[in-house]
C-alpha cells in the first residue's frame, strides 16, 4: 500500500467534513417531507368523504330516517347520542373517582401499580372489551343485544383515559398549594372541590373530550353488543342503530344511495372527531395543560 502522507489525511478529512455538512443539510430538507405521509391521508379523507357525502346531504338526512325513509341518519344519530350519554356518564364517574383516589389517597408504590393497570386497560384491543361486554351483559346478565349493553361496554373502554387524565391533573397540582390547603385544615373533600378544582378542570375536561372522541368512533365495542334497529331508540333497553353501524352495514351495498349514506355517516364522524380535537388543543393552549399523557 502506498504510504499515506499527512497531506492525504488532511484532504480526506476535509472531504469528509464537506460531505458531513452536506448530509446534515439535505437530510434536514428530506426528513420534513415525511410529514406528507401523515398529512396527505387526512386531507384526502376529508376531501373524499366530503365529496361523496355532501352533495346529497340535506337537513332531512339528519333529521329523518326509519323504515319508510331508509336514507336518513336520524335513528343512527339518536342511537349514538343515547349510547354516548350513558357511556360518558359511567366512564366519567368511574374514571374521575378512580383517578382522584389514585392521585390523592394511595401511597406512591400502590399508585404506580394502579397506574400500570390503567395503562394496561387502555392498551387492550376494543374487540376484547366488546367480547367481554357480549358475554357479561348480553348473555350473563341477560339484557340481550340492547343499547345499554353497548353503552356500558364502551364506558369500560373509555374509562382508562378519563382515569389517566384525572390522575395526571391531580398529580400536577403544585406541592405548595396542596400543603397550604393541608396546613389550613382542609379536609380532602374541601381540597378537591374548592382548592384543586380550578387547577385540574381544564386537563380533566380534555381527558373527557378525548374519551368522548374515542367512544363515538369505536365500532368494536358496540357492534357485538347492540342489535341494530331502523328506528330511533326509545329507552336504554331497546335496540338501536348508531353511526358506525351505518358505515359497517352499508359500505358493501350494491346500491349507490346506501354507500352514500355510509359516506355521510363517516363524514359526520370525521367532523365530530376533528372538532373535538380542535377543542382539546384550544383548551390545552389556553390553560397550558399537558397533552402528552392523554393521547396514548
Amino acid at each position: 500500500m502506498a504510504p499515506v502522507g499527512l497531506a492525504d489525511l488532511a484532504q480526506a478529512r476535509r472531504r469528509f467534513a464537506r460531505w458531513n455538512l452536506g448530509f446534515d443539510r439535505y437530510i434536514g430538507y428530506l426528513l420534513p417531507l415525511l410529514f406528507i405521509v401523515a398529512i396527505v391521508p387526512i386531507l384526502d379523507m376529508v376531501y373524499w368523504l366530503g365529496a361523496e357525502a355532501l352533495p346529497t346531504m340535506t337537513w332531512a338526512t339528519l333529521t329523518t330516517g326509519g323504515p319508510t325513509q331508509p336514507l336518513g341518519l336520524f335513528p343512527a344519530i339518536a342511537g349514538t347520542v343515547w349510547i354516548m350519554v350513558i357511556a360518558l356518564a359511567l366512564a366519567v364517574t368511574l374514571g374521575l373517582f378512580g383517578g382522584i383516589a389514585t392521585a390523592e389517597f394511595l401511597s406512591e408504590r400502590s399508585a404506580a401499580w394502579v397506574r400500570m393497570t390503567a395503562n394496561t386497560l387502555a392498551g387492550m384491543p376494543a374487540i376484547i372489551i366488546g367480547m367481554m361486554g357480549f358475554v357479561v351483559f348480553v348473555l350473563y346478565f341477560g339484557w340481550g343485544l340492547v343499547l345499554i349493553a353497548g353503552a356500558v361496554t364502551t364506558a369500560f373502554f373509555m374509562t382508562p383515559y378519563v382515569f389517566r387524565a384525572a390522575d395526571l391533573a391531580f398529580s400536577s397540582v403544585p406541592r405548595t398549594i396542596r400543603e397550604a390547603a393541608l396546613g389550613a385544615g382542609a379536609r380532602p373533600i374541601d381540597y378537591i372541590l374548592r382548592v384543586a378544582r380550578p387547577i385540574v378542570t381544564p386537563q380533566i375536561l380534555n381527558g373527557i373530550f378525548l374519551a368522548l372522541g374515542l367512544g363515538i368512533g369505536e365500532t368494536a365495542t358496540v357492534i357485538v353488543t347492540v342489535q341494530p334497529s331502523a328506528l330511533a331508540p326509545t329507552g336504554p333497553f331497546s335496540y338501536a342503530s348508531y353511526l358506525t353501524y351505518v358505515i359497517y352495514a352499508e359500505y358493501t351495498s350494491p346500491l349507490p344511495a346506501d354507500v352514500t349514506l355510509a359516506f355521510q355517516a363517516a363524514f359526520l364522524l370525521l367532523m365530530i372527531v376533528i372538532v373535538i380535537n380542535i377543542i382539546v388543543r384550544i383548551v390545552a393552549w389556553r390553560y397550558q395543560t399537558r397533552l402528552a399523557g392523554l393521547f396514548v
Binding site: I39, E108, V135, I247, Y248
Partner: protein, 340 residues
C-alpha cells in the same frame, strides 16, 4: 425587590418532557386518625376500577371456554372449518390467523417506525418552532380518527388504486423477491392494503412517543455534542437515539399491540378468507378480525363460540405481554411516566 412567586408550574403544552412531578408530601391518610376504617377503604376502592375491569374481561373469556374440550394441537392447527352444531367435522385451528396477524402487523410496524423516526427527528431537530406547532397537530389528529373511517376510506377510495395499479406493478417489477410474484388479488383486498392502513394507524402514536423521547434528552448532552463540532444529524444519531432507545423500543411495542388488536379496519380490508397466505398479495384473516366477524353469529354454536373465546384469550395474552414489556422499558428510562 423580589418577584412574586407564582405557584403554577410553567408547563408548556409543547414540551411535556419535564420530569415527573414529585408526589405531594403528606397524603391525607398519613395524617393519622380521623375517619373510620370504612371511609378509608371507600377512599381507596375507586382506584381499583381498571383492575376490576381487566379481571372481568379475563373471567368472561375463560368462563366461556369452560366445559368445552380444548386441545392445544387442534388449536394450533391450520384449518378453521365451522360446521353447524351437531354436524361433525369442525376444526378450530388458528395458526393461519396467527400468521395473518403477524404478516400484517410486522411490516406495518417496520414502515411506521421508520416514518415515525423521520418525522419525529424532523420535528425535534430540524424544523423551526413555527412549523412544528403547525404540523405536529396534524399528525396527532391522525391518532383520533376512528378506525372504521380509515376502513371505509381505504375500501372505497384506495382499493381500486391497489387493485388496478399498485399490486400489478409490484408483481411485475418486484417479482424477483420471494413472495412478490404470483397471482395478485383480483379485488385489491388482502395484505398490501391492510399493511398500508395499519401503518397509518400506528404512525401517530409512535411519532408522539418518539418525539417526546427525543425531547427528553437533556440539553447539555445535545449542546455539548454540537460544541464538539458534530452536525445535528451526528448528535441525533449518536446521542439522542441511543439515549432514547428504550423509549423508541417501547413506542414500537405499543404500536405493535395496536396493530394486532385492530379489528374493524382489518376486517374491511383483509378479505376474510380462511386460507393460509400464499404470497404477499393474498387475502387471509387475522385474529381480531376473525372475532369481530364471527362473534354474533357464533352464539348458536357453542363450540365455535368457545373457540372464539380461546382466540380472544390468545389475543389478550399477546397484547398484555407486549404492553407490559413496553411499559417496563419506559419506567426504566424515567421518561415522564404518563407519556406512555
Amino acid at each position: 425587590m423580589s418577584e412574586p412567586i407564582d405557584p403554577r408550574p410553567a408547563t408548556d403544552a409543547e414540551t411535556p418532557s419535564s420530569p415527573s412531578p414529585s408526589p405531594p408530601a403528606g397524603r391525607w391518610s398519613g395524617g393519622g386518625g380521623g375517619g373510620s376504617a370504612l371511609l378509608h377503604i371507600l377512599e381507596l376502592l375507586p382506584a381499583l376500577v381498571p383492575l376490576a375491569i381487566i379481571v372481568i374481561v379475563l373471567v368472561a373469556m375463560v368462563g366461556t371456554t369452560r366445559g368445552v374440550p380444548f386441545s392445544v394441537l387442534d388449536f394450533l392447527g391450520s384449518s378453521w372449518l365451522v360446521q353447524p352444531p351437531g354436524v361433525a367435522g369442525s376444526s378450530y385451528g388458528v395458526s393461519t390467523f396467527i400468521v395473518g396477524s403477524l404478516v400484517t402487523s410486522l411490516p406495518a410496524l417496520l414502515l411506521a417506525m421508520l416514518i415515525a423516526l423521520g418525522v419525529a427527528i424532523a420535528s425535534v431537530v430540524y424544523l423551526p418552532r413555527i412549523a412544528t406547532r403547525f404540523l405536529d397537530p396534524f399528525v396527532d389528529l391522525l391518532a383520533g380518527i376512528p378506525s372504521i373511517v380509515f376502513g371505509l376510506w381505504a375500501f372505497i377510495i384506495l382499493r381500486p388504486y391497489f387493485q388496478q395499479s399498485l399490486t400489478p406493478w409490484m408483481a411485475a417489477n418486484l417479482g424477483f423477491l420471494p413472495g412478490f410474484a404470483g397471482p395478485v388479488s383480483p379485488t385489491g383486498l388482502g395484505i398490501p392494503i391492510t399493511v398500508f392502513i395499519l401503518t397509518l394507524m400506528i404512525l401517530p402514536i409512535s411519532t408522539l412517543l418518539i418525539r417526546d423521547t427525543l425531547r427528553a434528552v437533556p440539553r447539555e448532552l445535545w449542546e455539548s455534542g454540537l460544541a464538539l463540532g458534530a452536525t445535528r444529524w451526528e448528535v441525533t444519531r449518536r446521542v439522542s437515539l441511543r439515549y432514547g432507545s428504550r423509549g423508541i423500543s417501547s413506542a414500537a411495542l405499543l404500536g405493535f399491540s395496536r396493530a394486532i388488536g385492530e379489528a374493524v379496519a382489518v376486517s374491511f380490508l383483509i378479505g376474510g378468507a380462511t386460507n393460509f397466505p400464499t404470497n404477499v398479495y393474498s387475502t387471509t384473516n387475522t385474529l381480531s378480525a376473525l372475532i369481530i366477524e364471527n362473534l354474533d353469529s357464533s352464539f348458536v354454536n357453542p363450540q365455535e363460540f368457545a373457540a372464539l373465546a380461546e382466540v380472544g384469550i390468545l389475543l389478550t395474552a399477546i397484547t398484555l405481554t407486549v404492553n407490559i414489556i413496553a411499559r417496563r422499558f419506559v419506567m426504566q428510562l424515567g421518561v415522564h411516566e404518563t407519556v406512555v
